[in-house]
Amino acid sequence: MILALEQILNGAQLGLMLFLLAAGLTLVFGIMNLVNLAHGSLYMMGAYFAVTLIDWTGSFVLGALLALPAVLLLGIAVEVICLRRLYARSHLDQLLATFGLLLFFNDLVLVIWGKAGRTIALPGWLRTSVEILPGVPYSAYRLLVIAAGLVVALGLWFTISRTRIGMRIRAGASDREITGALGIDVASLFSLVFGVGAMLAGLAGILNAPILTVQSGMGERILVIALVVTVLGGIGSVRGAFVAALSIGLLDTLARAFLPDLLKVVLPASAAQTAGAAAGSMIIYLLMVITLAVRPQGLFPVRAR
């Protein structure tokens, strides 16, 4: 039971990180009709920026906060230099070009930061654990990550559903022509949306940096899962991305935590570990295939496409 609670929190944490990635993906997908394989690179760049800025400032909080505008600027730069030329192109062209960006960023970090993976040391006050229930300790930092994820999700929901700029973004996500007709400066709106999406992906990278090893290619596996989330949630739907991200995060974490134990009933221990972990990773993809077989437009379709 205690283990289950811990795993549920871990799952929620993964889910919220996935949401941070998927929010940007789904908006860029929905509004600009761009499939962006380099979104995971922005996640990775966020983590690397955090490594360096925490190093420079000597403060975890300051470094992490400074990394955010850094990714925002990087995102806008990538959009202005390259991606905005791809909006009107075929998906194949988009895949190819953003795949090229992904390769570029993977080697770029090797050149700048070196081959060895980097880790971020947490300050003392975050290295503690909190008793979430009597006798159940949980990492304070992970709790902070969950809280941060929730705050951002709430902020994003508020921005999109309650503000002027959010209204424009929604208009764009459901009908690109209308956005143009409303006299909105489409190019700047697109840059802004892309930049913010990049920043959210970067935030996920920053928040995950102290938990994982920061290394080249770290964005690839999570990108694929975030793509699953985006498609499952329905392209262009932030609400769908939230629901799908949390479900996928929980499912993936719980399956990988408990399937090996279940399989130990029928298999030797080491075999159960390997097979169980793999089966756990497989489940979310199976879920996606089945869902799309039944509902080809995802769970919360924004419009027919």
Partner: protein
């Protein structure tokens, strides 16, 4: 037929590929054969992807899964002491075709991005299945200790023999593809890619034709995977990583989508660029990545497009 520059260049390319072992002997650099062999096998996989992507308009982002399935068919049988090539390759082709057929049944009901994503998800399932196959090395992969045996005089362990076998398979695949895309089946397949609604309204059972093409491509890529396993004497889940599928897309587009020789050109260019750029600098993708972006922004007609106006096929 009058020899066009394109025809001359392609004939020269194939001739050059045929002469690689000779050149390697003369220069004493056996490594050329290895390099060319990798290019030839990847070209076969790229031809298969081009069949559905270039001619059929189905962007599969999980094509490396078939390389893996073909490879593991050889590896798993070898692990159990079965080195009969007919069995191994038969399983490789059959299993890949079946996997493609089942994938197609689900994925081909979707379009556009949804199709891309389902093909990606299915490939991930295959990837994790290999990771979880603890009996066959799991994440670490599986070393193959014996080459496939067909007939006594064909020894796949000999690198030159094996190279010519692969090249022969490539030539046969090119001839078959050329017939296929110009036969009724390919004609209709290209028609579906160009205007699905129209073809359906004319009475074409679109789904069935797409599924057939998808299955055929899976089988061909499974064959490439079986050759790749014999080439490397090793199979591992990383053969099926989604970035490998990305590499295959890169080869097809780099060479020229929907052209007969484009995939061959693309695979050779990919392998050569990889080799040359990585000689030039360790982090060669720093150049290769932007190169892809430029290829796309410059209009994306691939290397075949550089050879002049007409798009064949």
């Amino acid at each position: 037929m009058r020899p066009t520059p394109r025809l001359v260049i392609y004939a020269a390319l194939l001739l050059a590929l045929a002469l690689v072992p000779l050149a390697a002997d003369l220069t004493g650099n056996r490594f050329y054969v290895t390099l060319a062999n990798r290019a030839v096998i990847l070209a076969l996989a790229a031809i298969s992807l081009n069949l559905i992507m270039g001619y059929g308009g189905m962007i599969s982002f999980g094509h490396a899964a078939y390389l893996g399935i073909g490879g593991y068919s050889v590896g798993v049988l070898a692990e159990h002491g079965i080195d009969n090539g007919w069995l191994q390759f038969g399983l490789a082709i059959g299993a890949s075709a079946l996997f493609a057929f089942l994938t197609g049944l689900v994925a081909l009901r979707s379009r556009g991005v949804y199709f891309i994503m389902i093909s990606l998800a299915v490939a991930q399932i295959a990837y994790f299945a290999a990771v979880g196959a603890y009996r066959y090395g799991g994440d670490d992969g599986l070393t193959i200790f014996s080459d496939s045996r067909f007939v006594p005089w064909l020894r796949l362990g000999d690198s030159v023999t094996f190279y010519y076998l692969c090249l022969a398979v490539l030539l046969v695949a090119l001839i078959l593809t050329n017939r296929l895309v110009n036969a009724r089946f390919g004609f209709v397949l290209r028609g579906i890619a160009a205007n699905e609604t129209r073809l359906r309204a004319l009475g074409v059972p679109v789904f069935r034709h797409r599924l057939a093409a998808f299955t055929l491509a899976g089988a061909l890529c499974g064959l490439a995977g079986a050759l790749l396993a014999n080439f490397a004497d090793f199979v591992s889940p990383s053969m099926m990583d989604w970035t490998r599928s990305g590499d295959l897309i890169v080869m097809v587009v780099l060479g020229g989508v929907g052209t007969l020789m484009g995939p061959v050109l693309g695979a050779v260019a990919f392998v050569v660029l990889e080799q040359e750029l990585s000689n030039l600098m360790e982090h060669w993708r720093l150049l290769f990545g932007p190169l892809l972006v430029i290829v796309v922004l410059a209009g994306n007609r691939g290397l075949d497009g550089l050879l002049g106006g007409r798009r064949n096929g």
